[in-house]
Assembly symmetry: D2
Homo-oligomer: 257 residues x 4
Amino acid sequence: MRFLLIGDIVGRSGRNVIKEDLSHIKRELGINFTIANGENAAGGNGITRDIARELFAAGIDVITMGNHVWNKKEVYNFIEQETRLIRPANYPPGAPGAGMNVFVREGAAVCVINMSGRVYMSPLDCPFRKADELLRQLSPDVKIVIVDFHAEASSEKIAMGWYLDGRVSAVCGTHTHVQTADERILPEGTAYITDIGMTGPRDSVIGVDKDVVLEKFLTQQPRRMEVASGPAQLNAVYIDVDTDTGRAKKIERIFNL
Amino acid sequence: MRFLLIGDIVGRSGRNVIKEDLSHIKRELGINFTIANGENAAGGNGITRDIARELFAAGIDVITMGNHVWNKKEVYNFIEQETRLIRPANYPPGAPGAGMNVFVREGAAVCVINMSGRVYMSPLDCPFRKADELLRQLSPDVKIVIVDFHAEASSEKIAMGWYLDGRVSAVCGTHTHVQTADERILPEGTAYITDIGMTGPRDSVIGVDKDVVLEKFLTQQPRRMEVASGPAQLNAVYIDVDTDTGRAKKIERIFNL
Amino acid sequence: MRFLLIGDIVGRSGRNVIKEDLSHIKRELGINFTIANGENAAGGNGITRDIARELFAAGIDVITMGNHVWNKKEVYNFIEQETRLIRPANYPPGAPGAGMNVFVREGAAVCVINMSGRVYMSPLDCPFRKADELLRQLSPDVKIVIVDFHAEASSEKIAMGWYLDGRVSAVCGTHTHVQTADERILPEGTAYITDIGMTGPRDSVIGVDKDVVLEKFLTQQPRRMEVASGPAQLNAVYIDVDTDTGRAKKIERIFNL
Amino acid sequence: MRFLLIGDIVGRSGRNVIKEDLSHIKRELGINFTIANGENAAGGNGITRDIARELFAAGIDVITMGNHVWNKKEVYNFIEQETRLIRPANYPPGAPGAGMNVFVREGAAVCVINMSGRVYMSPLDCPFRKADELLRQLSPDVKIVIVDFHAEASSEKIAMGWYLDGRVSAVCGTHTHVQTADERILPEGTAYITDIGMTGPRDSVIGVDKDVVLEKFLTQQPRRMEVASGPAQLNAVYIDVDTDTGRAKKIERIFNL
Ligand SMILES: [Fe+2]
Ligand SMILES: [Fe+2]
Ligand SMILES: [Fe+2]
Ligand SMILES: [Fe+2]
Ligand SMILES: [Fe+2]
Ligand SMILES: [Fe+2]
Ligand SMILES: [Fe+2]
Ligand SMILES: [Fe+2]
């Protein structure tokens, strides 16, 4: 079974790439299941119901989130109902929405987990212990588990890869908006990459207008961040998972322009 | 003229890869000038005179550093004399050593600059203004300028790429120890990559023994970091620069095992 | 000459205390010059022209700021003209407004400096070197220099006290919104306190509604911060400075309710 | 019943003050139970068995710790046996030692809790939820509960005060090494202060040699921190608690030199 994981979709620019290219990519690569990080889908930060629907309609099966999950207040109105939207599982207990869900595709159960790192980020619950807890809850019938680990520090992401190696099908990082070149199958069968990258305006600073960001760095004064214009890229990986064992057999990067 | 830039060399593991593979790589690719980040060369952090000599002897022309430059106290004994060792230029004025130097190779002047980011790092002087200052000091005869921007946040690194586009030959990031897949020639002729990656033990967490790092994340107690064992990788990029204009024509990643 | 320094004025609550109590306090204590931190004066963050005028009208001679100086966009419209409003001097060169100004009161020149720390804050220019630079610019005729050092870490604030001891009349901290009990005259004659405290709603979390802050800590989700209601406190220090030498002779805390 | 809480004891300087002054202070004030923060007792960071014994012998009943609890490796050898040494309770489960213990004094049960903040500190478990958990475990017979909340940010400390108001006898902050002037009895009967302060060398930067700290701030290079010399201060609070209800009736600061 072949999975497509798409890096943070930024603004209209990123959504347009998805609408234009996703169905074609899925067909060409024979994708069975598509997961995309949508934490920046609405104007650069957060998500709305309409935009979630737009992305599902374009062929995305599950949307994962990250530190920007709560940015658009509207998310509180639909996150409890929208089972295909997954937010970091290690928010404190009681947070709206779910951090894990199981989907069925072609007879196979597919578990999607979203977690957030803590290094240089908010002090959420320990993502390592949360992963243990979530996997304990899972029925042994569920062989395929895909983890989007949304984190800043390369050390925390790589550590999570090793921690879950052999226990999940894939640990794929998001959040830095830059695709890394370290994709591999870890020794016990888990597909790993430190960051899938970003889907949105290429000539930008992680999706944002570069002149605004530069002004911010130079003046250290607040500036209103705006999604950049110009040509857009799609960053993703596809992963082949053995349906019977849940082990990954292949991971390959996609860096489309 | 073809430049090789090597990502952070970690411990004996990384030095051994250099000694075994560098001359072969240089010959095969026709490298004219080799720069390597050596901030982790001595036992995982810092550098000593012997290790610097070892790296020069193995074919490295210039060593750049980063936040770990001062870790081995011995560096204070030779950094002023060793002109081929460059530390981040944006340490406060008066810091030992130099943050920029000009070398001559095959009749061409080659300027190497090392700078450090500030996001999630120590509050050094502004690297953007420091870059302006360094470039102002440079004779117009020096066309080729290679910048190792040692920084954590992808946003700060990409912003530096745009800031220096057309003013230097290359802006290459180091510090995360994970190679990124976003190498490109920016519109005004500057070669760019967010991170060159790491040269050292592959089955590790950024070079460090993975069990120790995991224990640290799980217990939040201090642990003695040790360089990992096992197979080692070499991460680098090579860049073709037009000697007359200083503009980059090509950048390609190397991820050797 | 007796100076009154008032800790961060928070919202309408803080402004009301000023309007009600300041003239009385000044009369009773025989205050000659009043400086107040106004970075939270407008609705909890930033300042507007009207609010600055309101504070000047209530008897404040100079307003200093901090990390929230730019929060109300309106500040850009009047900061260049309003010479009695001082923002942290260690913003990069070119920032609107001034970080130091000299006033004359009863025949004596009074220099007011505002600086920001960097530990756990934005990477502004080095406040220690900036202090050197500002003091070098000052005419030797100016004996009295009052520094509002707006910083988070106790270590950075105390270090600044020692750094400027004997070179300025006072180094008084702001930003934590909690008055410290370590006021003293340092050996070379500089009055010092780590934090003057906060002028605003007492039954709050640093001025903000406590239920909202608690919800934020417990959920790790964003919440709209609102200035708290209820009884308000005034936090300040008064300092006696020898007009001829600029040395401080006395510092005393005020914690009024 | 009268409690004495002593702020972070720094090095030999701080220990000497304790040995010289504590018995006298206890007698004069009629102290029944003494708690001291000992995270910096051994050479500036951490604690050893001998130093713990030295402090107990000098009249301290319970030692609380903080982020430096693990600095001296020796602590692992005795923290499990030494029931009078309490480390932050919100380290991940399985950490050696205890974060809470109950002692009996004059027929009354006294619970001592130590917790660490997370803002600008390591991402331990949520201290607010941990407090709930610890208090749930407590027998209703235990009326007196004293909390040492070791934290950096004033907001997190004040929030904890409000969170536990009426549920514990006292929430006293430590870690900044600067005594605050905001001691009070909160509306539901909990004694509160943001920081008790530091017991150790006065003419220092939070206990450390001021020249070394200044050099570190100015050069941004690592420097070996040394406990300062010179006159030492003792920072503490005493709190009167109603033995029947556990409510605090009085809190007063001590700033001895
Ligand atoms: Fe993102
Ligand atoms: Fe993110
Ligand atoms: Fe490194
Ligand atoms: Fe580094
Ligand atoms: Fe403030
Ligand atoms: Fe502030
Ligand atoms: Fe301490
Ligand atoms: Fe501490």
